[in-house]
């Protein structure tokens, strides 16, 4: 018995050792196939799982049929789309309707890593993650979206975002803005500090104003909306102004550049907004600061000023041909900073990257964008264009915009189109 008792732990130890040794032995035995399968395959690392990054990762993995190792780095497990986030504010969508997970991408062969990319070594061609992992790449695709330019709205910084939400990265911020809207006192004031150009859109500031007005008209009809805008005009301006006059007469006060809309400051603790020297107490203040490329683009050293200049043919950066930047963070030319644009650019980039890494056919870059906006129930408008790659930039070829005075039927059909588009693009992004 004594012997046996003594033997058991020994056996356990042996067994543990054996298992360890076995794992090591298998690793050694498998080393050539690991190398062939892992290190032998070209590696693409994509940073950012939005309309640009998720699409690029999915397309490269799908179309290369396993020939390219694709890793997507995205911190959030549930991604909320900026597009349609205004419709949530207006009560046309639930928050769950605009939330998506990455299971479809993993099923499609993408290695999805939920972490933050914090470093890029362009010589070693590695990306370092906040969790300590280091990913090697042959091509790096950065699609980090936007960050805010510090102190672009005097008095506001990221520590103020709970007092004065931006709701420009969808999710908790959007929920907060909605909660604030719903808690407004009767006859209260909702203020927006609109961003300077260029800005991410959607979530379009002017669609947001429309959706806030829609909510207030039904729930708090004596409330007012003030928009302080540093710009003299904005996209679809005539359409929005017509819609505001038709649906929300007397509710919205848009203060453009001409009337000091760009000369603003806020005091988040006091809940005040100062426009051109005149201080006003407001009940909700939606501050949308000036924007710049997501920080990782700066860290990678591919930005020039606030954005990352890219070559239109494949979205590779001017600074480094092995690093591509998609979507909002890129400085590409004529396309707006929309999810639709990012998705379109991702497909051109994915085709080019796959071609460079596997020798597959590379086709000419073709880009397009359509942005729908909802002004009120069944009152949808749209603007769109096609684009091509030139040496200099992504250049606009042709476009269209909804007309003022369109029939209710045309506007209803336009809104229905946007519903279809949302279902299609999110399936295209997330699988």
């Amino acid at each position: 018995m004594k012997h046996m008792q003594g033997a058991r732990p020994e056996m356990k130890l042996d067994r543990r050792l054996f298992l360890g040794a076995s794992a090591a032995a298998s690793a050694v035995l498998c080393a050539p196939c690991v190398l062939a399968d892992g290190h032998g395959r070209p590696r693409v690392v994509v940073v950012g799982g939005g309309a640009g990054g998720a699409t690029a990762a999915r397309y490269i993995a799908r179309d290369s049929r396993g020939a390219v190792d694709v890793t997507l780095v995205e911190p959030t497990r549930s991604y909320y789309t900026c597009f349609f986030s205004n419709l949530y504010l207006g009560g046309f969508k639930e928050i769950g309707d605009i939330g998506h997970t990455y299971g479809g991408l993993t099923a499609g062969g993408v290695n999805v890593v939920h972490d933050h990319a914090i470093g890029v070594d362009r010589t070693a061609r590695t990306v370092t993650l906040a969790g300590g992992s280091v990913l090697k790449y042959d091509r790096l695709i950065l699609a980090p979206g936007i960050d805010f330019v510090e102190m672009s709205v005097p008095g506001w910084d990221i520590s103020s975002q709970n007092l004065m939400p931006h709701a420009y990265k969808a999710g908790s911020q959007t929920e907060l803005l909605k909660a604030r809207l719903m808690a407004m006192p009767d006859g209260g004031v909702f203020a927006m500090v609109a961003p300077p150009n260029p800005y991410r859109c959607p979530p379009g500031p002017y669609e947001r104003v429309s959706m806030v007005a829609h909510y207030l008209k039904a729930n708090n009809p004596t409330a007012k909306i003030i928009v302080a805008d540093p710009k003299p005009k904005f996209s679809k301006m005539a359409l929005f102004q017509e819609g505001w006059a038709n649906h929300y007469a007397g509710m919205i006060d848009w203060i453009g550049e001409e009337f000091g809309g760009g000369n603003v400051g806020v005091d988040p603790a006091a809940g005040t907004l100062t426009i051109d020297g005149e201080k006003t107490r407001v009940d909700v203040c939606n501050v949308i600061p000036a924007m710049k490329a997501g920080r990782i683009a700066d860290i990678a050293g591919v930005t020039d000023g606030n954005w990352a200049p890219v070559n239109a043919a494949d979205m590779s950066t001017r600074a480094d041909p092995d690093i591509h930047v998609l979507g909002d963070a890129s400085q590409q030319g004529d396309m707006p900073k929309s999810g639709f644009s990012a998705n379109s650019q991702a497909k051109v980039c994915a085709n080019a990257v796959r071609g460079a890494l596997t020798g597959s056919r590379v086709f000419p870059a073709k880009f397009s964008n359509t942005c729908w906006s909802l002004i009120d129930t069944n009152d949808g408008v749209k603007v769109g264009a096609t684009y091509e790659a030139t040496e200099e930039k992504i250049a606009r070829v042709d476009g269209f915009i909804s007309q003022t005075g369109e029939s209710a039927e045309v506007r209803r059909v336009t809104y229905e189109e946007s519903e279809s588009w949302y279902a299609a693009i999110t399936a295209d992004m997330f699988g």
Binding site: S420, A424, I425, A427
Partner: protein, 108 residues
């Protein structure tokens, strides 16, 4: 010559001029399916793979001749959706054939 007859159930198509036809030599162009797959990535941003026909109709699986006729109708502004006129307006005959060939494969 092909007409809209085979596509008549689609509410969108019903709005078009039923007399619109495409020349046989255009319908006979053999599409490059691989190029079509690439170009199609620009379509499926809006056109869902199937199901709901409200709003933007599904196009996967359309017969090539019907697809070609539809795109030419948009390009020549016989159909009036501005997005589709824009999209079709920049496609060559070969590109329309490529797209048609690709989308037809999705129905098989």
């Amino acid at each position: 010559m092909r007409t809209w007859a085979g596509f008549a159930k689609n509410e969108e198509v019903a709005k078009t001029a039923p007399a619109f036809t495409v020349a046989p030599q255009v319908l006979a162009i053999r599409g490059d399916i691989e190029y079509g797959a690439y170009l199609a990535s620009g379509c499926i941003t809006c056109h869902q793979p199937g199901g709901n026909t409200d709003g933007i109709p599904p196009i996967a699986g359309l017969e090539a001749g019907i697809f070609v006729t539809a795109l030419h109708a948009y390009r020549q502004k016989h159909r009036d959706n501005p997005v589709m006129q824009l999209v079709a307006g920049r496609l060559t005959d070969d590109e329309i054939a490529a797209l048609a060939a690709y989308f037809e494969t999705l129905g098989k």
